[in-house]
């Protein structure tokens, strides 16, 4: 037995679905907005890809202003005495200065190294609970509420960017919650990014600029008109261990 097919109903459903899809896509297509911070109740989107370009030629010899700036902003490290019981090799380091020396020529320089905010982060791949996660805007974070402290992300990170907290912590900062038995790393000063959008300046970059070195450029890699995109288009940039194909958010010049 055949049934009467109500084609008008089908057309109606098709039409409304099309309109809904159109309304969803239209703002992204038609509205060329000036970059600005999003309201706190809106989720981040993949329209932005936050990243950082670091010119190691501008990096001051023996300077560690970026490291100290990060410590002050996020409350870790010796200046805060945040892990008094832990041995030096057990203490967290969100960002560190790595000194390089070419074994053939003897050429020496230094660079700051932190979470590279990979597009394809191995730490996120291996995390059993999903605590290690990447936001839609490319910032790689640890959800401290569901981190079980298995440390598999630390095994998997090619950049040794992550630290495990070996003891109870006191006097934590609101912007950077931390906890015994969980893993942490550079957040790209996500609290500043969420507050200031494309105008945000992470603490490391701010400290570097205050020192007069200006080695850091923070910005939106997805926006061709951003300072970081223009500099990368003009001078190029290097990814550390580019062979892994992880598409890093942090790029370098001068290495």
């Amino acid at each position: 037995m055949s049934e009467h097919v109500d084609t008008s109903r089908r057309r109606f459903i098709g039409g409304t679905a099309g309109a809904a899809a159109g309304m969803s896509i239209a703002p992204g297509v038609f509205l060329n907005q000036v970059a600005q911070a999003k309201p706190a109740d809106q989720p981040v989107t993949s329209e932005n890809r936050w990243g950082m370009l670091i010119d190691t030629n501008k990096c001051g010899d023996g300077c560690d202003a970026c490291v100290r700036g990060c410590m002050e902003e996020n409350g870790w490290g010796d200046i805060n005495d945040s892990e008094p019981h832990s041995a030096p090799e057990q203490k967290a380091q969100w960002i560190r200065i790595v000194e390089l020396r070419d074994t053939r020529t003897g050429y020496a320089h230094q660079l700051p190294l932190m979470c590279q905010h990979c597009k394809h982060p191995p730490c996120v791949d291996v995390c059993p609970t999903g605590a290690s996660m990447k936001r839609a805007d490319g910032i790689v974070l640890v959800d401290k509420h569901i981190c079980i402290g298995c440390r598999y992300c630390m095994m998997a990170c090619p950049y040794k960017a992550r630290s495990f907290i070996h003891e109870d912590l006191q006097d934590q900062l609101v912007v950077a919650p931390r906890g015994k038995g969980t893993v942490e790393s550079c957040t790209l000063c996500v609290h500043r990014v969420d507050r200031d959008g494309a105008d945000a300046v992470p603490a490391c970059a701010e400290a570097c600029a205050a020192e007069g070195h200006d080695a850091f450029v923070f910005g939106d890699l997805n926006d061709p008109n951003s300072e970081i995109s223009r500099q990368l288009a003009l001078h190029g940039g290097t990814e550390i261990r580019a062979d892994l194909g992880l598409d890093l958010g942090v790029r370098y010049r001068g290495i």
Binding site: S86, Q90, C147, E167, K180
Partner: protein
């Protein structure tokens, strides 16, 4: 007339049995105490740090987990490959597989930064993570082997044992593949990122699991006064020799491949020549004491017949296995990440240097505690349920192997 083998609970009630329970209970209690100490203070009281993030507890845990799947092999040879002499060995094999896994998992869970969040690990899954898959594989293994044991031990379900046994065999191969892939899937480190990790771990499981099984079988049969035939034991010890040789082959293939690729020369030089404690552990612990000496003992015409020598060979295989886990897990982390090829690197975060690790006592005690959990569970289970056959004399268990002349041999041991 063909004699059938009956299974009976262990009836020992003397100081021997309760002394064993007491010693194992004490080991478990000490392990739990060490855990409380470490979790209360935080991991700063251990030797682990931000370079060596997985320490001695993981060496014991991964060893036990790998050995667990291997311990099931004896049952699989009977159920899947139809070898009659192995069939009476199956219930103890399944039991040991479950208890070793529980012992290993206990260590792993108790060493977490937040063991109190175990429920999170059970409710939040990232299916791209091999760790998440392993949680499912481990729990599934316990469930499947439990059903398998039921089929083996309930006479009315006997006809299903080979089907369930086949499924358990497949599951255990996948499980060990998953365990090896924890390391195989790590792209960042020189020592890992190799497909051979999965089959290497499978062969390691054959070897370590059978070594533990043989020791438990010999001790269990002897302590309960049940005969164990020489021919059957000879089968098992020859099989152990094959497995030990198999592990050596995979280790050889792994290092030969690495030695061919220039990018891995640094790590190979570190492990094979200049790595200090890791080099010594590799050559003396893993290769000499853990492989070559037990191989020689197992196949020596004289020693190979001595139960004492077979027992010692098993112990050496276990010791060598733990050493191998140490060189893989700790050695693989100790070698620095290569971030800038051709450059000398240094930093406050120990870039470019071999990481230091001195295991702390509580870590050891937790690891030993895992062994305690596995063994006390076996000792209690064989008293409650009939896992062990009343006799394994050759005339009964292995009649086609010239066993008649060995009938009394079990008593001689």
């Amino acid at each position: 007339m063909k004699k059938t083998i009956h299974f009976r609970e262990v009836t020992n009630n003397g100081t021997g049995y309760w002394g064993l329970i007491g010693i194992l209970g004490l080991i478990v209690a000490i392990g739990l105490g060490a855990t409380y100490y470490m979790e209360h203070h935080g991991h700063y009281v251990t030797g682990m740090n931000n370079q060596i993030v997985w320490g001695i507890p993981h060496v014991f845990a991964v060893f036990l987990i790998v050995a667990a799947s291997g311990a099931l092999n004896v049952a699989s040879i009977g159920s899947v490959f139809g070898k009659a002499p192995y069939k009476p060995l199956a219930p103890l094999s399944g039991l040991l597989a479950v208890t070793l896994l529980i012992g290993g998992l206990a260590i792993l869970v108790l060493d977490l930064g937040r063991p109190d969040r175990l429920i999170v690990a059970m409710t939040y899954y990232n299916f791209k993570s091999i760790f998440a898959w392993n949680i499912i594989l481990y729990n599934g293994f316990i469930a499947i082997v439990a059903v398998y044991l039921w089929m083996l031990m309930d006479p009315s379900k006997k006809q299903y044992s080979s089907t369930v046994g086949f499924f358990a065999f497949l599951w255990r191969l996948i499980l060990t593949t998953g365990t090896g892939s924890i390391f195989g899937f790590i792209v960042a480190r020189q020592a890992y990122d190799a497909a051979i990790m999965a089959p290497l771990f499978v062969v390691m499981s054959f070897s370590f699991g059978l070594a533990i099984y043989l020791l438990v079988l010999m001790a269990g049969m002897k302590w309960t006064g049940r005969p164990l035939g020489d021919a059957l034991l000879r089968r098992l010890k020859n099989l152990l020799g094959v497995f030990v040789g198999g592990v050596l082959y995979f280790v050889l293939a792994y290092h030969l491949t690495n030695l061919y690729a220039t990018e891995h020369h640094g790590y190979e030089h570190f492990l094979l020549l200049g790595g200090g404690i890791y080099t010594q552990l590799f050559w003396i612990g893993q290769i000499l004491i853990g492989s070559l000496i037990p191989l020689a003992m197992l196949y020596h015409p004289g020693l190979g017949r001595s139960r004492t020598a077979i027992g010692w060979a098993c112990a050496l295989v276990i010791l060598g296995g733990l050493t191998q886990m140490y060189t893989i897990i700790i050695g693989g982390q100790a070698y620095p990440l290569v971030l800038f090829p051709g450059m000398e690197v240094s930093s406050s975060f120990y870039d470019g240097v071999v990481a230091e690790y001195s295991p702390a006592l509580p870590e050891f005690l937790l690891g030993i505690g895992g062994f305690g959990i596995a063994l006390i569970a076996v000792a209690l289970a064989v008293k409650v349920l009939p896992f062990m056959p009343q006799t394994l004399e050759d005339a009964v268990a292995d009649p086609h192997h010239g066993g008649a002349t060995d009938a009394a041999a079990g008593k001689a041991a």
